[in-house]
């Protein structure tokens, strides 16, 4: 092994592997250090992997990558305790190449992705924890690992160590996240035969569906529950802001069990045999929480930089894109032979001009709005359920009378003025 690399990547997740693949492909000497037994051993997603970001790196990757199902239908539920208002979009285009997105197991996908990096020339070192960056004269020059004589040196270190982001915190790029800047999610895989999954979710063989669930599924806390179809498993999980889980004194596994026993959910997962149980944080701080991204000899990518669009459950694509853009900046710096924050700042520039920062900026107030205005999840979702319940329950009462009842019941809790104001605020937060 060389005593000095062009680049060290910390973390073999989506962001780190994207960066490594790109740099190795350009002939840079790259080492990826991962603390798990293998890449993916620590990673949790559920999860929907978007095609476009991956394809920029590896054209037609779907022909060889271990994927679960192409997603052809995305459903959304506004859930109350005994009911749900549901909507969905299903598209045949999504069932054909080039597809839109896929469910994946990160435990398998990340191993494949790491093999691609190795084929491109990167060295992958597993079972090794990076404990700190080595800093000399205000420059990151390498990393210290937990192995004996485990110091490694490089021109640039890519911090792709995920949401806990211990290393950029050590460098002072950000403070400890606040409990409202992360969501805590728990999830389970349930095993079921593929035909049963296809029948229950109304799917053609091999195709997949996703369900995002808002409202009672998180007891009105800011967050979502989700159900994703894999080949022979269903991923079911729920996450909410850590601040609210703490305040509400929720035991996360009880919330998951509550979801599984909901009358809307129970029939979909019936006889599903639990095979694995997970917990993971999700960055939710959004645009305002994005830390310093670039320093002398160092860049931060993916979850470590809070790059998640919670409103659209997009994280892996932001991770892959940020990894790729960081790699491009490093390749450019490599050609110039200089690696200070100035040369590396093209990463930050390009990230700001990409969908990553543009989307985070667009939604920068959305999560905060939901957090400070719990009525959106706590009152309006039950209102919607109640209104449809009234209008659709046929019991000899006139529709005029029913409309009047609905209006009265809503206005008992909310004035017309506050309804109007909330509508306006919601529109402003996503416009």
């Amino acid at each position: 092994m060389p005593d000095k690399f062009d680049a060290i990547v910390v973390g073999a997740g989506a962001a780190g592997l994207a960066a490594a693949y790109k740099m190795a492909g350009e002939g840079l000497s790259v080492v990826v250090i991962e603390r798990g037994d293998y890449p993916g051993a620590k990673n949790v997603m559920g999860g929907v992997l978007y095609r476009s970001a991956m394809e920029e790196l590896i054209p037609e990757f779907w022909k060889e990558a271990p994927l679960q199902r192409p997603v052809v239908e995305q459903r959304f539920w506004l859930m109350d305790s005994q009911s749900a208002v549901t909507t969905s979009y299903k598209a045949q285009e999504w069932a054909r190449e080039p597809y839109n997105c896929f469910t994946v197991f990160r435990g398998q996908f990340d191993q494949w992705f790491a093999r691609k990096c190795a084929e491109a020339g990167a060295i992958i070192i597993n079972e090794t924890l990076v404990e700190s960056c080595i800093v000399e004269n205000g420059r990151v020059v390498g990393v210290r690992t937990n192995r004996p004589e485990g110091d490694l040196y490089a021109n640039v270190v890519v911090l792709a160590d995920g949401v806990n982001s211990m290393l950029s915190k050590q460098l002072g790029f950000h403070k400890e996240w606040e409990p409202r800047q992360v969501a805590l999610a728990v999830m389970e895989e349930l095993k079921l035969p593929s035909e049963v999954i296809e029948e229950r979710f109304n799917l053609d063989p091999g195709m997949g569906a996703t369900i995002e669930i808002y409202g009672d599924s998180t007891l009105g806390m800011v967050g979502t529950a989700f159900i994703y179809t894999n080949k022979e498993h269903i991923s079911i999980g729920v996450g909410a802001l850590l601040s609210q889980i703490r305040q509400r004194k929720v035991r996360p596994y009880e919330l998951l069990e509550y979801l599984k026993s909901h009358p809307m959910v129970r029939p979909l997962i019936k006889n599903g045999k639990p095979v694995e149980y997970y917990a993971h944080l999700i960055p939710e701080g959004g645009y305002n929480a994005v830390p310093q991204l670039v320093g002398n000899g160092v860049v931060v990518v993916g979850d470590a930089a809070q790059l998640v669009n919670g409103i659209h459950r997009e994280g892996s694509n932001l991770a892959v894109t940020s990894g790729r853009l960081a790699a491009e900046a490093i390749i450019r710096a490599h050609k110039m032979g200089a690696f200070t924050a100035r040369e590396l700042s093209t990463y930050e520039e390009n990230l700001r001009n990409s969908f990553v920062m543009k989307d985070l900026k667009k939604y920068k107030n959305a999560s905060h709005l939901l957090e400070t205005n719990p009525q959106y999840l706590n009152e309006y979702i039950p209102f919607t359920n109640m209104a449809l319940h009234e209008m659709l329950t046929v019991d000899g009462i006139s529709k005029w009378q029913k409309q009047k009842t609905i209006k009265e019941r809503v206005l008992q809790q909310r004035s017309l003025f506050s309804l109007g104001k909330d509508l306006y605020k919601a529109w402003k937060a996503v416009k």
Binding site: D37, R106, E176, E188, L242, L281
Partner: protein
């Protein structure tokens, strides 16, 4: 304007056998704990809620006979306790490389 956001406080009334869930996972426990309480007197005297015993998704922390026990072997390494302990009283590290929980799917 409402000041303190109200949250739905309905009780869940649900029994979960968490050990059954944790038993499903593949573990490589290290000999030493990667988690520690920094100052036990803070837990005993300043933290009536003992929040970590509630929000931890693996029930790693349990308050028994006036002390905190840490079942670090079942830690899912999420990081929640480091961020949400109201007193910053948890010394949190990742387990050594290659140790801890090893997920196969997800």
């Amino acid at each position: 304007m409402k000041s303190e956001p109200a949250i739905n406080n309905k009780p869940l009334n649900i029994e979960v056998n968490l050990d059954d869930k944790l038993f499903l996972n593949r573990w490589k426990p290290d000999e030493d704990s990667h988690l520690a309480i920094i100052d036990p007197s803070v837990c005993a005297g300043k933290c009536p809620g003992k929040d970590c015993t509630v929000f931890c998704p693996a029930k790693v922390y349990e308050w028994r006979n006036g002390r905190m026990t840490i079942g670090y072997e079942g830690c899912l390494e999420c990081g929640a306790c480091r961020i949400a302990c109201p007193h910053g009283n948890i010394r949190w590290r990742y387990p050594r490389g290659g140790y801890g929980v090893q997920f196969r799917l997800a």
